[in-house]
């Protein structure tokens, strides 16, 4: 036998050995797959049995059922408490808003009460004008304004008191003339629409409030400038204007009547003194 034939025989032998090993590996893999399948089936059976046992135990165990109901009740109570907290919070917010509203109303009533009290605290004409001036400065917050009274003989409005303005420079106004005269004639309040771009004009104020006894106008309050920090009117200001329109008018009228009657009384007294001497 030649050397070449020997090599060939050896190669065939090794090939057969490799084939044997490969076959054994394939068989082993097959076995493993089968075993895996069997185990998975067993696992499913065990899980199913456990689930059934658990379900059975749940239905049958009264303690577990009681605890489950207790948990449900507690969950419901928790929800109710949360709802109540939300409701109380809403109420609190509502109370806080009401408190602010009441404080504002209180502030407004205090201003109106003080203004009314002060307007009727004197029968002296000059003092009445002073009180009106104080109200317009301190409670409304005006910096430049005038109180004009109507002379019924001439039908002209003349400035009787002013603040922040030279009284001499303020013109007299004829009834029915311009905004001031018109408001005095109709008895209506006037508020300028564009307050921001206002330029002072004595014939065109930012506010004109007729002073009225019932429907009878005796004068007007005209405002030309508000204090720097006062950019617009608040609700209380409109209430104060309404109060001023009526109460300031009666206070002015009463004080004038009182002054006249005092003057007449003094004249009569002087006359009587002369007679009885």
């Amino acid at each position: 036998m030649s050397e070449r034939d020997e090599d060939k025989g050896l190669t065939v032998k090794r090939g057969e050995e490799f084939l044997q090993i490969f076959k054994k590996g394939a068989e082993f893999t097959q076995d493993l797959l089968k075993e895996n399948e069997r185990l998975r089936y067993q696992l499913l059976q065990i899980e199913e049995a456990a689930r059934l046992r658990q379900e059975q135990a749940g239905v049958d165990d009264p303690e577990l059922e009681r605890l489950r109901r207790r948990v449900e009740n507690l969950e419901q109570e928790k929800q109710e408490i949360l709802d109540r907290i939300r409701h109380v919070e809403e109420e609190n917010q509502d109370f806080a808003n009401r408190y602010v509203e009441i404080e504002n109303e209180n502030n407004m009533l205090a201003n109106l009460y003080i203004a009314s009290f002060q307007l009727h605290s004197t029968l002296d004409f000059r003092e009445v004008l002073q009180v009106i001036t104080e109200i317009v400065i301190n409670l409304i917050g005006a910096e430049e304004f005038a109180i004009m009274l109507l002379d019924e003989k001439t039908n002209r409005l003349t400035t009787m008191a002013s603040e922040g303005l030279d009284q001499e420079t303020l013109p007299t106004v004829e009834l029915g003339q311009g905004i001031i005269g018109q408001m005095a004639k109709t008895g209506e309040n006037y508020f300028i629409e564009d307050m921001e771009n206002y330029q002072r004009d004595f014939t065109h104020p930012i506010v004109c409030i007729p002073l009225k006894i019932k429907e009878h106008v005796i004068g007007v309050i005209v405002i030309y400038k508000l204090l720097e920090q006062k950019s617009r009117f608040a609700e209380v200001d409109y209430e104060l204007f309404t109060l001023l329109a009526g109460h300031a008018a009666t206070a002015i009228f009463s004080s004038k009547l009182y002054s006249e009657s005092e003057r007449k009384l003094s004249t009569i007294q002087g006359f009587l003194d002369l007679m009885t001497k």
Partner: protein, 126 residues
């Protein structure tokens, strides 16, 4: 409950009434009024106050002079003083704060603001 004595120095009766009206809403306050700086000074020397409200613009003696004199008095070195002013008089306000005023209230007066300032300076809660 502790009581505090408050002096209100203001020449305008309307303003004085409004400030007193507001302060009366705080329990435990005794309020004394003075109608100008001189009257205020007299009351400061004859009594002891825990808080002072004073207007700046007043006849005879203005609020600035009153603040200055009060701060030179050892008894009123630390007593809180509130000045009442218009925004237009901001220089006066700054001067008053510089010479020792603690706070200020601008016109038009809000009763809520008076109560708030008084409570703060007297450390009254609730």
């Amino acid at each position: 409950m502790s009581t505090y004595k408050v002096l209100v120095v203001e020449d305008s009766p309307t303003m004085r009434q409004l400030i007193i009206f507001a302060l009366k809403r705080i329990r435990g306050l005794t309020i004394v009024e003075a109608n100008d700086g001189v009257d205020g000074l007299k009351k400061l020397s004859s009594d002891k106050f825990d808080l002072i409200f004073t207007d700046i613009n007043m006849p005879i003696m203005d609020g600035l002079k009153l603040v200055s004199l009060a701060r030179n008095d050892p008894g009123y070195k630390t007593v809180p003083i509130v000045i009442i002013t218009t925004e237009g008089a901001s220089e006066d306000r700054e001067r008053a704060l510089a010479i020792g005023a603690n706070d200020y209230i601008t016109k038009p007066i809000q009763t809520v603001r008076i109560i708030e300032v008084a409570r703060k300076l007297l450390n009254i809660t609730g």
